[in-house]
């Protein structure tokens, strides 16, 4: 009986893989696993342990085990692949390195960090700088090892490994630019984690046009770096640059396959703060509302960033005299902190005082009085008492109760005047109101 031709064997192999994929599509996982296992054995027997076909069968099998969350099986399979490659064809370095890297990544997922690190190191040590066939594997090993260290808060070592990788790139003739840029971006992240912010921003901004190019797939780590750069420029009062990097981070976040509501909300939140200082007031409210929308999908309603966003919105609506809208936002904020145990009084004072103020303007006088008296009741110090007193003065002024209005304004004035530092901006406002009340036209 003659031996089947290689083409026929390849076609038979392709058929087994295709059948496995069909089962996978139909969610018949056990059958899919059986087909991929058969494909693996077939490939090892006919094409050799280091063949592309073995890699393909392994990929399918590993992906399937990953979907089924059978991490131990995945790990066992990868360990056996590495053992086979070490034993049968140790001279085929790219193939061995590829298996080592996959094993290391699986170990990282299983939080077997030391074992993973040993495999990353073995992958790097297996490659020779003088063999051109090894250079791609060598660069790839540095990227993956550096990324792993970076993600596991081993930033100092990440910097060392990535720097080695980048020096290697600078030395060789036809190095892979994309991998070098990835290394540089991870190095920027590692710098950032080490508090070396200026170096992180310098490096990150140089390589981001390539790693975060609109035609490249999004990478959550790199998007985080864009956000850091935006935040850095915001702190440095470079608002135009901050605006650009924050919008860039948002663009990338929206391109990710799963929407990260919390992250999107956080970027919109910072963007709104930047808009205010950048001289784009027309965008502040839009960005705050978007921040709130996304944050409420990804966080608890009482979390500090959500509350801070609400407060920002209130501070936009009240000066714009959009009191009815402000009342709704404040009511939502009060509802959110209703059952909180910590810092309850201070927050209640702030929101009930704001609520009372807008209710005065909406001429809901009984409600306003109740809100302001409650704000006064929960006030912790004179500073927290001053505003509700001033607003009670305003309430009685609007209701035409001159004596009460003067009384509350005077109490508030006394508290504002005794505050240390610069004269409080409320002082002239109250003095003007008192003058009007004491000298009616």
């Amino acid at each position: 009986m003659s031996k089947p031709s290689p083409d026929k064997q390849r076609s038979e192999f392709a058929e087994i893989i295709s059948q496995g994929k069909k089962y996978l599509f139909d969610e018949q996982m056990e059958r899919a696993r059986a087909e991929f296992s058969q494909a693996q054995s077939f490939a090892e027997a006919h094409f050799g342990i280091n063949s592309e076909e073995v890699d393909l069968a392994h990929d399918e099998l590993i992906n399937l085990l990953h979907i089924l969350e059978l991490k131990d099986d995945e790990l066992a399979l990868l360990e056996s692949l590495v053992a086979k490659r070490r034993q049968h064809e140790p001279q085929n370095v790219p193939s061995l390195v590829s298996a080592l890297m996959r094993l290391a990544k699986c170990q990282v997922d299983l939080e077997q960090f030391d074992a993973a690190e040993a495999h990353f190191k073995e992958a790097i040590a297996s490659c020779s700088l003088h063999n051109s066939e090894h250079l791609f594997s060598l660069q790839l090993s540095h990227v993956d090892y550096g990324r792993c260290l970076c993600r596991h808060n081993q930033s100092e070592r990440a910097v060392e490994v990535l720097e080695d990788g980048l020096k290697l790139y600078a030395r060789i003739k036809d190095g892979n630019v994309m991998m070098a840029a990835d290394m540089a971006m991870y190095m920027a992240l590692a710098y950032w984690n080490l508090g070396r912010e200026a170096e992180a921003v310098e490096l990150g901004t140089q390589v981001a046009p390539l790693t975060c190019h609109r035609s490249a797939g999004p990478n959550a780590d790199f998007t985080r770096m864009l956000y850091h750069v935006g935040g850095y420029y915001h702190q440095e009062k470079k608002y135009k640059e901050a605006d650009y990097y924050l919008q860039w981070a948002l663009t990338r976040l929206f391109q990710e396959s799963s929407i990260k509501h919390r992250n999107i909300g956080a970027v919109y939140h910072l963007l709104a703060s930047n808009d205010r200082l950048f001289g784009k007031p027309e965008r502040v409210e839009r960005h705050l509302r978007r921040a709130l929308k996304f944050l409420l999908r990804g966080c608890e309603a009482h979390e500090p960033m959500v509350m801070d966003t609400r407060l920002g919105l209130i501070n936009v609506l009240i000066p714009a005299e959009r009191y009815a809208e402000a009342e709704t936002v404040i009511a939502e904020a009060i509802e959110a902190i209703k059952n909180l145990e910590r810092n309850l009084e201070s927050k209640q004072n702030l929101y009930y005082n704001n609520l009372g103020f807008v209710q005065v303007h909406l001429e809901k006088f009984p409600k306003a009085e109740a809100s302001l008296r409650f704000a006064l009741k929960v006030a912790q110090d004179d500073q927290e008492r001053a505003y509700p007193l001033k607003n009670l003065g305003l309430l009685y002024q609007r209701m035409g109760y001159v004596t009460e209005a003067i009384d509350y304004y005077r109490q508030a004035l006394l508290l504002f005047e005794t505050e240390p530092g610069e004269p409080h901006p409320m002082i002239p406002v109250i003095q003007k109101a008192l003058t009007e009340l004491q000298n009616p036209a």
Partner: protein, 170 residues
């Protein structure tokens, strides 16, 4: 088999999209995540029109951007280069510019010929226009407002490669 505006309106209703109908067009309004129209608000106004006896459906955003009046040849040239680069990179939607007034339009043409328009097909094409508007807004805005030219990935690769070589040369 062609289509009509009535059929398109039915498909939009079925997809639960808000729209307004006029004699020859359908207007669809959208609140965008990133795109800002020339009035600097976050809304986009999409027009759907039927042409050539209903064998061609056009989906477009008129005046998606506007080159400021009085801009010189340099600005027009920069924006044209930007549009060219985008059109090279994207599929589906495309940008075009009216040289006479600097209006930049984003849209796509859907040739139906003898096919029946389905809801999925219509929505896919509408989403293609909207996603393009969001994804490319930042780069477009930079070119339009700050005269920063748009570069393709291969050009950037060279620059970044040279920078890293210089920076990490031992």
């Amino acid at each position: 088999m062609a289509t009509t505006l009535d059929e398109i309106a039915d498909l939009l209703t079925s997809a639960k999209l808000h729209f307004t109908r006029e004699d020859k067009f359908i207007f669809v309004g959208y609140e965008m995540d990133l795109y800002e129209n020339p009035d600097k608000t976050g809304g986009i106004r999409l027009i759907i029109a039927c042409e050539r006896d209903g064998t061609l459906v056009r989906i477009f955003v008129p005046a998606a951007y506007k080159i400021p009046t009085g801009s010189g040849v340099r600005k027009f040239s920069l924006v044209k280069h930007c549009l060219n680069q985008f059109n090279w990179e994207i599929t589906g939607a495309k940008y075009e510019m009216d040289d006479a007034d600097g209006e930049v339009r984003l849209g796509l043409d859907l040739f139906l010929e003898d096919a029946k328009l389905t809801e999925r097909q219509l929505m896919r094409n509408i989403m293609s226009v909207l996603t393009t508007a969001d994804n490319l807004h930042l780069d477009f805005q930079r070119a339009l407002e700050d005269d920063v030219p748009v570069a393709g990935r291969s050009a950037i690769k060279k620059t970044v490669g040279a920078y890293l070589k210089k920076q990490f040369k031992s």
